[in-house]
């Protein structure tokens, strides 16, 4: 029974296993999505009411079959990744920028900014997330921009707390103190000395949150608050296909697999990054 001290070579191999599978899954899906315009110039929108619900692997023109409106499932699965990845990536980028800035300021200067941040975070943690989303989208109306905006509002606090915590741990460390002693400005200290040191945990959280947000988009669609159903999206296909699970499984199983492969890939990469960058486990999520 090998306990604490594992053989280094097997550890490395294990890490690279996670990395390889993660990269393979997330990478393949991302590439397919990026080239979807080239692969499927019609954007998966061509409709043929006479060829609805063609089963998969029966018609070479529709390898993965067609949906209830006679649209090609393969094309929609590939093109559908655009919305899902866009929502996932943009929302996370937005949250990172806002959250990191606030976290840096709060952690470095402390004072009012910090009190405000911490109380705001408390309030947000006490509000049930999905209910907040429904109310929010009810007031603003639905749309990709609003869904992204909402995710930013809901998630920036995570980054802010994370960054603040790291800054608190760093601000009294030797190298910061000496930088300050030789007259380095606050802005420079924050961006040149502190920020690089908190990057690791942020990247991990980002990877995991892209995955979370892809799933979230599909949940919102399930509740009827998703984006324009004409534009293919994994969440939308999954939610709409649920009525057909018993009669035409392929309509929702393939987008489901696409989500799973992508999200699993991202989660594996996130996990791998965590082992690499954050062995102390600050980013338990």
């Amino acid at each position: 029974m090998a306990a604490a001290q594992a053989v280094p070579s097997s550890r490395r191999r294990f890490r690279s296993m996670e990395f390889v599978i993660g990269l393979l899954f997330a990478g393949t899906m991302t590439l397919a999505v990026l080239f979807s315009g080239f692969l499927f110039p019609d954007g998966g929108e061509s409709m043929d009411l006479m060829a609805r619900l063609v089963p998969p692997f029966t018609d070479p023109a529709h390898i993965l079959g067609t949906d209830p409106l006679g649209r090609d499932v393969l094309a929609r699965v590939v093109v559908g990744g655009r919305i899902s990845l866009m929502v996932g990536v943009l929302s996370v980028l937005g949250a990172v920028v806002v959250g990191t800035l606030v976290g840096l300021v709060a952690g470095y200067y402390r004072g009012v900014a910090e009190v405000f941040l911490m109380r705001f975070a408390d309030v947000q943690l006490a509000l049930p997330f999905i209910l907040l989303a429904i109310m929010f989208l009810a007031i603003l109306g639905t749309g990709i921009d609003k869904i992204i905006f909402f995710m930013i509002v809901a998630q920036w606090v995570q980054y802010a707390r994370l960054v603040r915590g790291s800054v608190l741990a760093l601000r009294d460390r030797e190298f910061i103190l000496s930088a300050r002693a030789i007259g380095v400005g606050n802005g420079r200290i924050i961006f040149h000395h502190i920020l690089p040191n908190v990057l690791g945990p942020i990247v991990i959280l980002m990877t995991l949150n892209v995955a979370t947000n892809i799933l979230l988009e599909s949940s919102l669609t399930f509740l009827g608050l998703g984006v324009d159903p004409l534009i293919p999206s994994w969440g939308g296909m999954l939610a709409d296909g649920r009525t057909y699970l018993q009669s035409a499984w392929w309509v929702s199983v393939f987008p489901g697999l696409a989500i799973m492969v992508t999200v699993l890939g991202l989660n594996l990469l996130g996990d791998w990054l965590r082992d690499l960058l954050d062995p102390l486990g600050q980013t338990n999520k």
């Binding site: 053989v7 294990f14 943690l125 999905i130 429904i134 009810a138 999954l238 649920r242 996990d271 338990n284």
Partner: protein, 306 residues
Amino acid sequence: MAGFILKRLLQAIFVILAVTLIVSFAIRLSGDPAIMLTGAGSVTEKDLENIRQALGLNRPFLVQYLEFLSGIARGDFGRSFMGGTPVSLLISKALPSTLLLAFASLAVSIAISVPLGVYAAVKRGKWPDQVIRVLSLVGLSFPNFWLAIMMVLFFSITLGLLPPSGMEGPESFIMPALTMAIILTATNVRLVRTSMLETLSQQYIMVARSKGLRDRVVLYKHALRNSAIPLVTYIGLQFGSLIGGIVIVERVFNWPGMGTLAFDAISARDYPVLQGSITVLALFIVLINLVVDIAYGLIDPRIRTE
């Protein structure tokens, strides 16, 4: 220490006040319950005005909000706009259902993740560790509504084993709790594994081993007990996100809980029910965080100064 507890208590009260204010305000922006109540009928503005009057909605927001607050202080959450049932009655029926489901989910998740996490830690770096970690992440990679529907199709329709929805006997807990648990398990396996690895590398475990205690005894009696503290803390904190995520699972399984109550209240713009249910949920989350915080403060004095 008393100062620390007082400070945390004041913060908790602030959070609750902020939550009530946000919810009361936001829901009032999102639509007129009088129109919801009359549906698609042939109503005139005067009819609507009458209904608003009866519901007390034509008074200033601040008056309505303060009335809601003073109601809470008296334990009175008002009455549902739909049918006039006291909100406290609706909550007293829904809250136990949700809490039971939440506890069941946590229990299932712990039952799955502790052995898996321990095993993964023991087999660190070997293939069982890899398989466990990858598999636990697979559970995290499905939207939960989809997982729930698939389970219903398999267990209820194909096999005819479990009831597809509702809360009746113990058997109706299986699928909803499993759906929630699968999502929690990914995190918990990781947590157990990490803290086990930490404990296993500590001196006294080595000593215990060198004394020739059997591995299993060492693992479960010594190591696991010491990993339990961070685990329990984290699970306490998980409770909040668990309740948030429960909305969708409750909907698919038609679970008569707080998520269903609040969701229906949003759809009907039933202000009192929504305000009441979200406030109670928030109270729960804040309370658990408070307890965890204070417990931590007792264990680790450094946190108090933060």
